[in-house]
């Protein structure tokens, strides 16, 4: 073997760094675009049911969120973080939380609130305690309640022009209305109940509501995709929706007329969108699995309470925001004991070690 034929490494090109030298190659950007992809079926369904203006609203929110993000990072003298896709996702979620009739200026103001108040004042992605899209939605809901609660009934004939659609109440508004009238006469309550969409209509999204929240089947498909690619934890939607079903079920058992059956509850309003896409937001929800379950159950309880007894017909946004505020506390109390640590702040006693040595013995 001659020395000349062997190529040896060029030592000047070596990188020296601390281990690990492998990475699973996932990135924030990939995560964000996977979530955007998972939202796409529901967005397409909204275009189908509410017409092309739905697409306009969603795209407008995405573009303005991205623009505000670019503006604010520039003002803060930071490198642009646009390519991580988080602003686009915030915009998409915001757009899907608005009614189709929303004016253009409200989309832009909502985006400003979402990115500015929801995210950048806390230093950008990762620092925000509240879900930015929900901050944007709630700002608009509190500021312009009339425009935010004008709903159109979908025409149900595919890509229809929104102007042709008739206005109508959302299913949850009907429930609230029914609650109010049930005290008076049974007939009045039944009359309201008659207007209620069928379970099938609710499932495929043929009912009034915010753009992205109506089509339960598309949201479930997107949610299952996210669970499969390990971006969200299945425990969150299951516990959230389960808790709502349980609570409204108990209420229904006691007062079947005033409180609609749990199936209608879980299929209407923003519950599916919230449970799959907003209560699972990484930044604003607890770090570990146990905490996520506590968070989801809390969201479920609050949503049920607001829906059944609150003055708003819908409680998903508020309940998620309230639980967002509790996240640091949940994190603190659900922090696990590290392996081999017996109790926080204490080393194991010899007795405990003996117990650990013989796990089968009691």
């Amino acid at each position: 073997m001659t020395e000349q034929t062997i190529k040896m490494p060029d030592m000047s090109q070596l990188v020296v760094s601390s281990s690990p030298h492998y990475h699973d190659r996932d990135s924030v950007r990939k995560i964000m675009f996977k979530v955007i992809g998972a939202l796409t079926p529901a967005a397409l369904a909204s275009v189908y049911f509410f017409g092309w203006r739905a697409l306009m609203v969603i795209l407008l929110c995405m573009v303005s969120c991205a623009a505000f993000e670019a503006l604010f990072t520039r003002m803060m003298g930071r490198e642009s973080a646009l390519n991580d896709g988080s602003a686009l996702l915030t915009g998409m979620l915001l757009g899907m939380n608005l009614p189709v009739t929303v004016p253009v200026w409200m989309c832009i103001v909502g985006s400003l609130a979402a990115i500015g108040l929801g995210k950048m004042v806390y230093g950008g992605l990762g620092g925000n305690p509240f879900n930015p899209a929900l901050v944007g939605r709630v700002a608009l809901l509190v500021g312009c309640p009339a425009a935010m609660t004008t709903w159109v009934k979908p025409s149900g004939c595919g890509f229809a022009k929104w102007v042709d659609a008739a206005t109508g109440a959302t299913p949850l508004a009907l429930i609230a209305q029914c609650d109010a009238t049930s005290g008076a006469t049974r007939q009045a309550a039944d009359a309201v109940a008659q207007q209620y969409p069928s379970v099938l209509d609710l499932f495929i999204g043929n009912c009034g509501g915010s753009l992205g929240e109506t089509c339960a089947v598309a949201l479930i498909i997107g949610g299952i995709f996210l669970i499969c690619v390990n971006i969200i934890r299945w425990q969150v939607p299951v516990c959230y929706i389960g808790t709502v079903a349980l609570f409204t079920g108990i209420a229904y058992a006691f007062h079947p007329c005033a409180h609609f059956n749990p199936l209608l509850h879980i299929l209407s309003g923003g519950l599916m969108l919230g449970a799959f896409f907003m209560a699972t937001d990484m930044v604003t929800t607890p770090l570990n699995r146990k905490g996520s379950v506590v968070f989801a159950v809390g969201c479920g309880v609050l949503t049920s309470v607001i829906r059944l007894w609150g003055s708003y017909p819908e409680g998903v946004s508020f309940s998620i925001l309230i639980m967002n505020a509790l996240t640091p506390l949940i994190d603190k109390f659900t922090a696990g004991r590290p392996f081999g640590v017996m109790k926080v702040g204490r080393r194991a006693s010899s007795k405990e070690i003996e117990a650990e040595k013989n796990p089968t013995k009691k």
Binding site: I6, M11, P20, H21, D24, V283, P286, L287, N288, A335
Partner: protein, 449 residues
Amino acid sequence: MITQIRFYGGIHPSEGKVSNKEDIINAPLQELYTVPLQQHIGAPAKMVVQKGDHVLRGQLLGEPGGFVSAAVHSPTSGTVKDVTTCLGPAGATLPAVVIESDGEDKAADPLPPFENWQDADPAALKARVGEAGIVGMGGATFPTFVKLSPPPNVKIDTIILDGVECEPCLTADHRLMLETPEKIVKGAQIIGRILGVKRIIIAIELNKPDAIETMTKAAEGTGVEVAPLVVRYPQGAEKQLIYALTGRKVPSGGLPAAVGCVVSNVGTTAAIYEAVCLGKPLYERVTTVTGTPVVKPGNYRFRVGTLYRTALELCGGVSEDPAKIISGGPMMGMAVYSLDIPVMKGTSGILLLSRDELVQYSPSACLRCGRCNDVCPMSMMPGILSAQIEHQKFELAEKWHVMDCIECGSCAYICPAGRPLVQHMRRAKAVVNAKKRAAAAAAAAAAKK
């Protein structure tokens, strides 16, 4: 049959064990060997030869420099050409002896072999392990003699042989199990004799079915059990391995002996057999040289002191310029910047990464996705700890159990924001340890007054 208990967390990186079909090749004799006197954790060995001395293969070059230390032996016969220093894989400068081979490779008189080790005095067997300079060959290089000397109040009841080799790319232990299974089984029984323990388990992951088969066959009738384990990194870590096999949790800050276990790498175990039954001190080991840029990846039996440069030449050099050269595996190995580093007792692999495989972190803010929590085998909170450490809150990090980190790197591997999580932990551990040492030194100084 042993039922495996799934330890919390863990990851499954791509295995990349391309050299698992390559037989172990004895590396040819070299002209020069640079033998470091510190190839182990603890005090460096004290040199017992001088420049110009003639030494034989297996002759003592350095005797243990303390209780936690190990002897170092000459890899071949020749003259002590120089007493100098050399570069270690971690970047530290180590005292070293350069041996110029005389080409005869003449062996020194072997230590007297134990014919009947089954009946031999355990203390004598243990002393032999010390004499032969055996250290943990999985990479930690903890002197085995010390490991086999548990405090008198501790009762050891289980010996675990680590044939897990959970680091991707490395195949040295795998090949050793295939080619010398009887040495490993006998070595295990010797450890059992030393510690007076009957229960011996050999742990092998299911990605090495041939090794499981071979070892099961070799262990037949000896009472040694083979435990196949579902593949998961870092299953080869002591604490996780003990938990997976016995359900016992080594207490925080404690050693495996605290739960009655001793864990020994299969390579170390084979070396113990050779020391006891053949009288051969530890001066060579099997090392995997692998990676995409390597022309002929393989498993080689190198004498200690062979330079990485020589090792790479034996593999036919490289087909492209590597972006990284790593001493050890990709998860916990150390990137080096020179090829003038000798193979030591703890060198399990030399891994080269191509430019495509290179990971360069460009960390962004923590997304709080919680994946680091999900994969941390010590169930710590790497995300929170890393934020504390970035703000230099080392005392707080200590309260959050940063000292329990085993530095397996699972958190940094999984982090989508590319945050250097395990690197932060290492920094905090170093700071806390330095503080403890300073406090101890201050206390000692105060006591003197």
